[in-house]
């Protein structure tokens, strides 16, 4: 191996972060964290939300300054004051939310903020030539003239990698890079990363998906509550061990499911078509049934009509044609209130926006659904005693961690907010649950809790539609899996026949 990378830039042999401490007002985000990465390896940084992964990487990329600790690059202590410094040292970052300007072309995005060979004039032809050269060297298929918003998510990610390589990145920080990809795109992406690893790049892979860490990485460092729990070789480590390191107690086991005991159709969707916010067709003739006692998973890449479908079923968005029935009764066009009264529970995707009122207290949010009915209401007035008693009960039985019932909901963590929504939505024995991305952004503990509750509802005979972009979640919970792509149901696969590969093809719109 030479000291130069295929891109012509020098390698980073060893990067070390030692005793990194970062305090924010009231929080110790990093507590003497040690981390290192070498050329030719993928080092995973694993941890729950709030474990300190992002803080650590933001320090490495110059976005934050550490209060204590040092960064050594090839043995030399360096000071990284800004992203510009990081880039100068050969450190690149692929952000989870792509840092691309959608209305510009690929080459313009690459040229943005760089020095041009024609001083103040753009040198887009030269940039394009270099992009093509890098694309060839790293097997990244990218058209320099394409406008970014027209590219698929996978292609946009390749543009991000090209951007980093263009600037001479020898070390790449990959912040949850697979969160937005289909399984096939993940596979292609891993091939690219494997090649970069062989070529001598150092890669840091931030994730909470254990199987990806095991598939791709050489070493893994686990963070919890801002501290390093340990660094270990991935070889010979199991998912369970990693999960336990992450949460500090036995975890990460597949939820146990009772055999399927499905009954009558509770939710029926027939030839539904609907428009999205921009007035474009988002659902193109969607039909399916959900039976009592089963969980039907709706898999798909983000933005293929899932949100529109959930909103149509909940009565929040009109269907332009087709029919939705609940327990055999046509509910198309009824108001959300009527649909809920007929037995629908809706766990919305945007829980902070659609699932609750942020400024309201915990108790007020719990009664939001039935505030005007007994026992919460008495002759048009709120019955505070009953509200206090019932919300206290629900807060206890759903393990909501809150300072008090009078705390504004916005002060709680995502997991506790989701528990409040669950408490409100499922405590009244619904006929049908529509759960959209119910565990997005939650930590392992809260995720397991939500899963257990959904399975409990299933066993009690509720019909559940689980809309999720997390294929692992769908595979863990669903009895039957629908795949949506571009507003059409591409397939209806029984759980026993479902594999990530098969679903991935359907998610990408390939007819089976």
């Amino acid at each position: 191996m030479t000291d130069l990378l295929p891109s012509g830039h020098p390698r980073i042999d060893h990067l070390e972060m030692r005793g990194i401490t970062k305090r924010f007002p009231g929080v110790l985000a990093s507590d003497h964290v040690d981390f290192d990465v070498r050329t030719g390896e993928v080092h995973a940084l694993l941890g729950e939300n709030g474990a300190g992964k992002s803080t650590l990487m933001r320090i490495l990329y110059g976005l934050y300054q550490p209060d204590e600790g040092e960064i050594r690059l090839n043995g030399q202590v360096v000071s990284i004051q800004s992203p510009a410094d990081a880039i100068r040292y050969g450190i690149g970052m692929i952000h989870q939310h792509f840092m691309l300007v959608p209305t510009l072309t690929v080459k313009e995005n690459v040229a943005l903020g760089l020095k041009s060979s024609r001083s103040f004039l753009t040198d887009l032809d030269k940039v394009a030539a270099r992009i093509e050269q890098l694309a060839k060297l790293y097997s990244l298929d990218v058209d320099p003239d394409a406008v970014v918003w027209q590219l698929s998510v996978g292609q946009q990610q390749r543009v991000e990698i090209i951007k980093a390589l263009y600037r001479g990145a020898a070390l790449l920080i990959l912040d949850e890079p697979t969160a937005v990809l289909t399984p096939q795109e993940v596979d292609e992406f891993f091939v690219i990363l494997e090649q970069m690893k062989r070529d001598g790049h150092a890669l840091i892979f931030i994730s909470h998906k254990l199987h990806e860490v095991i598939q791709l990485c050489n070493r893994v460092t686990v963070l919890r509550d801002g501290r390093t729990i340990g660094t270990t070789k991935v070889e010979g480590t199991t998912k369970q061990q990693l999960a336990e390191m992450m949460v500090g107690r036995p975890a990460g086991l597949q939820p146990t499911k009772k055999p399927l005991d499905a009954h009558e159709v509770r939710l029926s969707v027939r030839n539904v078509e609907a428009l999205n916010d921009r007035g474009r067709p988002a659902l193109r003739g969607v039909s399916f049934d959900v039976r009592a006692g089963e969980i039907v998973g709706l898999a798909g890449v983000s933005g293929n009509g899932q949100r529109t479908l959930a909103e149509v079923i909940a009565g929040l968005r009109p269907a332009t044609s087709g029919e939705v029935s609940l327990g055999g009764r046509n509910v198309t066009g009824l108001s959300p209130r009527r649909v809920m009264a007929l037995g629908l529970s809706y766990i919305p995707e945007e829980r902070m926006r659609d699932g609750m009122i942020r400024e309201f207290t915990v108790a007020e949010n719990i009664i939001l659904r039935e505030f005007d009915q007994p026992p919460y209401a008495r002759s048009g007035f709120l019955n505070q005693a009953a509200i206090q008693r019932n919300s206290r009960e629900l807060v206890n039985s759903f393990n909501v961690k809150t300072p008090s019932l009078e705390t504004p909901a916005k002060n709680l963590s995502g997991g506790n907010i989701q528990k409040i929504i669950l408490a409100r939505e499922i405590s009244r024995r619904p006929q049908v649950i529509v759960a959209a991305q119910p565990t997005r952004g939650l930590d392992i503990g809260a995720t397991e809790y939500v899963h257990a509750r959904l399975l409990e509802q299933r066993d009690q005979g509720t019909a559940t539609l689980l809309i999720s972009e997390d294929l692992d979640e769908i595979l863990a919970l669903a009895d039957r899996i629908l795949v949506i792509c571009d507003g059409r149901i591409m397939g209806d696969v029984p759980r026993a026949e479902a594999t990530a590969e098969k679903l991935g093809l359907l998610m990408a719109g390939v007819e089976s």
């Binding site: 952000h95 300007v101 903020g113 103040f120």
Partner: protein
Amino acid sequence: MNDSQLIAILASIVLQASPLIIAVCGEILTERSGVVNLSLDGSMLMAAMTGFVVGMKTDSYWIGFLAAAVVGAIFAAIVAFGSIRLGQSQVAIGFVLTLLGDDLSAFLGQNYVRQTGVVVPRAGIPLLKDIPILGPILFNQNIVVYFAILLIIGTWWWLNRTQAGLRLRGAGERPTAAFARGVDVNRVRYAYTILGGALVGIAGAAYSLNVKIGWSDGHVRGFGWIALAIVIFGGWSPIRGAFGALLFGATKALATALQRAFPEVSVVAFNAIPWALMILVLLAVGSDYTERFIEAMPRRWQRPLRRVLRVSPPMALGTAFHEG
């Protein structure tokens, strides 16, 4: 109407449109960086008054323009400071400044109403002005018109052909992405808001020193709003914006001509024509109906039509940007 009359009308449309073109280019630079300077109507009034008075006192229209540019830049700087530094609403600040400029110009300019000052002299460009038709329309004008024409090309070129233009567009479309690429988004926004404001100031003086010479209470009232509307109509492109300004000038000329032809109809009715057209265009451009109209056209026309008719503002227009 003979040819020379038509050419005279066209030349006058170009002259009438020149201040609007300057203001539109200035506001496009500002808005493409992500800031709305809504104070145009007020700052143009202040700049028109200042330009006229300073020109008169110094007996130099150059110094008048300079003073007007400074006034426009100050108004814009207030918008920039209030929104970027103080985190206030760009729209609210712009509105208040509009009202302020209107009243302040009336107050400060009250002693200069209907006085004679300096004017920009006609200066035909040798050779070019002798080109048939185009010569008299475009090149037998004066420095203000030439500046407007150069500004259209210059703005387009700056936006599309320079590194600085790329940074400017990045800051207005997706500031977080631009910032991650080392662009100092807020500095870019300050710079283009102030530059755009200076151009708006020059546009104000282009009225009082060239197109609508002199000063009176509310001398150029309404033209700032027109310029803001043309920026939208022009889809934030200087070339389409200039076209919009000329179209507006043409409808005004048409209204004048119609008025002569039908003297029995009220003056007010004809004066309203350009505004009504403006509203129609604003409603149509970028709406659902435009898209349906485009989709009804033959397939090979759709792409060019969409380029001309579809309008989308800079994605981060009017939003604050915070680092980190």
